[in-house]
């Protein structure tokens, strides 16, 4: 591993000041960062550990019933939080689906949203759009795990499970730097590769995710997270889905594993699901409409079928 120094931030201001330094990067559990450094994907001079910042690991409800998740909150603590299990079960299920029990105890929510894609060309140092190259070697290569929708010029998918649930729950992400704090809706947090293929999120140098906000939901309703993997545990999603139908009405669905970021299903499809009265034929037609723009690469057409199956299953579950 190339040498770097380590600093445990003592406050939000201290973290922001340190991150303003040259080649300083934020660290949570290090479960992705230390591997990425080992692979040569990033070469920081200083790691700024955010886990010691007072309150950064908290998961708490505010007076209006919204959820605030600190950037350094552990994935495990979100998965098992009583209020999350009760009010935001799709998020609890998505967090419980991350990696292994030990990775969930180590990994933070900020690190989870900012983890780098697992495309093996990128991770193994092959020249590609993510590391300054000008072509995607996966297009004519091994692309079985890559995007079927919204990709290009880079086709890597974002590996986060929680991000998919947070998209269906219309969360917001609070981003802090020495210059202050801004809050962006999760739909604007992930950057499409057509805009900037070298990065995945709007988090710039010197910035870090200080919190995630999840809007209040009324009790009741239906929420689901389903994840298809090559084996039953400890693997990234081939395809996943988060589906939410609050008791107050409306339907929101997002797919994981199919696009460069969480893929929110078209609102006209969501509205038709919400209006109800669906049968097998209309469910199939809606699933097809949701994937209308999907275009497989040479080896990942199976993902469109998987996404269709998950969409149909979720629509049935939301109807009951």
């Amino acid at each position: 591993m190339s040498p770097f120094t380590y600093h445990r931030a003592t406050s939000t201001d201290d973290a922001a000041a340190r991150l303003a330094g040259a080649r300083a990067v934020p660290m949570g559990g290090g479960t992705d960062l230390l591997v990425a450094i080992d692979e040569g994907v990033v070469a920081p001079a200083q790691l700024v550990d955010l886990r010691g910042v007072p309150g950064a690991d908290a998961v708490a409800l505010d007076a209006r019933g919204a959820l605030r998740i600190g950037g350094a909150a552990r994935v495990h603590d979100v998965a098992r939080h009583p209020a999350v299990l009760e009010r935001w079960p799709a998020l609890a299920q998505a967090c419980e689906a991350v990696g292994s029990p030990t990775l969930r105890q180590m990994g933070t929510m900020g690190g989870n949203l900012c983890q780098r894609p697992r495309c093996w060309y990128f991770r193994r140092g092959v020249s590609c759009f993510k590391n300054g190259g000008d072509e995607c070697p996966a297009v004519d290569g091994e692309n079985q795990y890559l995007a079927v929708i919204g990709g290009g010029p880079c086709h890597a998918v974002h590996p986060s499970d929680p991000a998919v649930a947070l998209t269906a729950l219309e969360a917001t992400v609070e981003i802090t730097s020495a210059g202050g704090t801004r809050t962006v809706p999760i739909a604007a947090f992930f950057v499409p590769p057509a805009e900037a293929p070298e990065r995945e999120t709007v988090v710039g140098p010197g910035e870090f995710v200080s919190a995630i906000g999840v809007p209040a939901v009324s009790a009741g309703g239906v929420q689901r997270y389903h994840k298809l993997m090559q084996r039953e545990a400890w693997d990234f999603a081939l395809v996943s889905i988060a589906a939410v139908r609050p008791a107050a009405g409306g339907v929101r669905m997002a797919l994981g594993g199919v696009a460069p970021g969480p893929w929110r299903v078209n609102s006209s499809v969501e509205e038709d699901v919400a209006s109800g009265g669906l049968d097998d034929d209309s469910i199939s037609a809606l699933a097809e409409r949701a994937l209308y723009d999907a275009q497989p690469l040479s080896k990942n057409g199976y993902k469109i079928e998987m996404a269709g199956a998950l969409l149909r299953q979720a629509m049935r579950e939301l109807a009951t």
Binding site: P3, F4, Y6, D49
Partner: protein, 156 residues
């Protein structure tokens, strides 16, 4: 900096990029903790940090200042094995034994949180530890047995 392992404090000069497993094995001679993948994909290096499981290959030693690190060496002594160690022997829950220290530390974390796990909970809770020899069925039985042994010891 001061690193506390199995209750014993060590004063060490540690560079920012050194991993906990490298320090445990290379500097402290605690070679019970194994390394196989070095990238969070096998669990051989599992230790406890403040009672929570962690992969020591993906943990910076410098980040452990002020924390209590527990390794397999601290769990039991040769003359007085921990219930998990006894159960692993009784059920022959290993073949080559390379994954065993990590399996036992992960099981210790699981039983601390869930003292009376169901079989499904054991499978889920142990899903971050691979066994190349495929001793899984016996590992599950050993963990369930250890839970009973610990419960009996608490009751006694």
């Amino acid at each position: 900096m001061r690193l506390t392992v199995n209750g014993q404090p060590y004063d060490l000069a540690i560079a920012g990029h050194e991993s906990l497993v490298a320090i445990l094995r290379g500097r402290l001679g605690l070679t019970g903790t194994k390394v196989a993948c070095g990238r969070g994909e096998c669990g051989a290096c599992t230790v406890l940090i403040d009672g929570k499981p962690a992969y020591a290959c993906l943990t910076l030693a410098a980040a452990c200042e002020g924390a209590a690190v527990s390794t397999i060496e601290g769990l039991g002594a040769a003359e007085r094995l921990h219930a998990l160690q006894q159960a692993f022997i009784a059920h022959d829950a290993l073949q080559c034994g390379f994954c065993t220290p990590g399996q036992i530390m992960a099981a210790a974390a699981l039983l601390a949180q869930t003292p009376r796990p169901t079989e499904a909970e054991v499978r889920h809770g142990m899903s971050g530890n691979l066994c190349r020899c495929g001793a899984y069925p016996k590992i599950v039985r050993a963990v369930l047995d250890a839970a009973q042994r610990l419960e009996a010891a608490r009751g006694a």
